[in-house]
Symmetry: C2
Subunit: 281 residues, 2 copies
């Protein structure tokens, strides 16, 4: 992608900060502006050198921007994108980094602003830690970014968003918002729910007997509870469907444990191993 004269990042936490660092390290922007809600957040981002300049004023931040990325918590994304679309140049590419897409994209299209420059995105990259202190310029390298055009999205806008993420090292996958939410319920939201349930039902007295298996399986439970409660609530219909498939699987395992059915237990573990091996490390 050609260099952008100005890129504005709304929300400079781990994801927003990593976008800033990636742009800087790859020489892809002349000027990187961060927009935050609190001066203290902007000061942290400036200190981490993930942005060149910070402002609390969305309109000022997006003026003359070539690209605007909204990387705020999912409950705020739609409102923030609509504000950006109302203030940014009509020529700007506007996208987001929210972990859910159906509700966000629908709310933006119902928001009354001109959405010609907008398409939704979800970079499948992150960390269980939050904040610009953990930002990494290579966070998106070889990671998938889902770009989610709707019937109303301009093809050129989708292509610009794909080129933007590719310029940060990511591979892009294009799918409609509802398909995204259905797939991510299984591949991201359900694992998070289950990791949290496992952690929550482990007596703390026994943590000295937790080895790498417990540590790996529960790692994402350390993520920000507020951010994830929002993600769960935004995608609750699909998350419940995925959860019901898991509950059926666990009930079947319970039946086989109770019956001491070694053959069925091994068959279940073999099927699980096949799927896990298909991913690789």
């Amino acid at each position: 992608m050609a260099s952008n004269s100005k890129v504005t990042i709304i929300g400079v936490g781990l994801i927003g900060g990593s976008i800033g660092l990636a742009l800087r390290e790859r020489g892809l922007a002349e000027h990187i502006v961060g927009v935050g809600r609190r001066q203290v957040s902007l000061d942290r981002a400036l200190q981490c050198e993930v942005i060149d300049q910070g402002t609390l004023d969305v309109a000022a931040g997006v003026a003359d921007a070539d690209v605007v990325i909204v990387a705020t918590p999912v409950d705020s994304v739609a409102t923030d994108v609509v504000k950006v679309l109302q203030a940014a140049p009509a020529s700007a590419l506007v996208t987001d980094a929210g972990s859910t897409k159906l509700k966000i994209c629908a709310e933006i299209e119902a928001g009354g602003a001109n959405t010609a420059g907008f398409v939704g995105s979800h970079p499948l990259a992150g960390d269980h830690r939050s904040g610009p202190e953990f930002a990494r310029g290579d966070l998106f390298v070889d990671k998938a970014v889902v770009v989610t055009p709707t019937d109303q999205t301009h093809e050129e806008t989708t292509q610009r968003a794909e080129a933007f993420w590719a310029s940060l090292g990511a591979r892009t996958v294009r799918m409609p918002p509802d398909q995204h939410d259905q797939a991510l319920a299984s591949t991201s939201h359900l694992p998070h729910l289950v990791a949290s349930a496992l952690a929550a039902c482990t007596p703390e007295d026994w943590l000295s007997l937790a080895a790498t298996g417990w540590a790996d399986t529960t790692r994402v439970a350390a993520a920000d509870p507020q951010l994830w409660a929002q993600i769960f609530a935004q995608n609750s219909p699909e998350l419940i469907k995925s959860l019901d498939r898991l509950l059926a699987q666990l009930q079947a395992a319970r039946t086989n444990l109770l019956a001491n059915d070694h053959t069925q237990l091994e068959h279940f573990l073999q099927q699980a191993k096949r799927t896990r091996d298909a991913l690789g490390n």
Copy 2:
């Protein structure tokens, strides 16, 4: 611990092989003998240099041994330990490395051999990969090893086992077999069951949308299905109790998702994060 003139390892896979390597690297044994069921397994172990000598004959392998470690799959441990106790010198320390303890220790004590030299052990160290190729001399460093004496165990035997594991770099935890199985159901067996259920109910078409969250949460599902079916079956009463606590937690989460109860969802995630953070990385 003073150097042993001869240590015999029954079963030279990942755990047995790592014990051999650790002994060798730390200069803790003059002679390390591996006992296997198949010559091809012994040849692999010899090639990986985790043992000095291999034999298919248990009695020959344990003759004159100072220490014997049984590191075979949990369904074989009790039988193998009884065979060892019948053939090894009365002065030998005999222990195992099985992931379950109640059934194994009970079967050994009912096995008719002199159990004065035996105490059960479970090193909380491993890998989702199997075989001596993945053995590591530092596998036990700073890891917990549970040593599980019963009413019949000689205190001196327990102390020798603790000293043995400590000499490999581990920290030991002493508890009765039933308490071990209760705790490990929560901290190891349930996470494994859940990781496998998650992997098994993820459509393979969506794996391209699986990021580090899915990868971490399901990692242990890549382990050997046969070994783990045995572990599940050996500890099924405690595993079912742990599973029921998890199912209750997941059902509560489902209710809160359905009701869109953001406060309860966040409360649940906060509780999970507290427990996860208590472990550290």
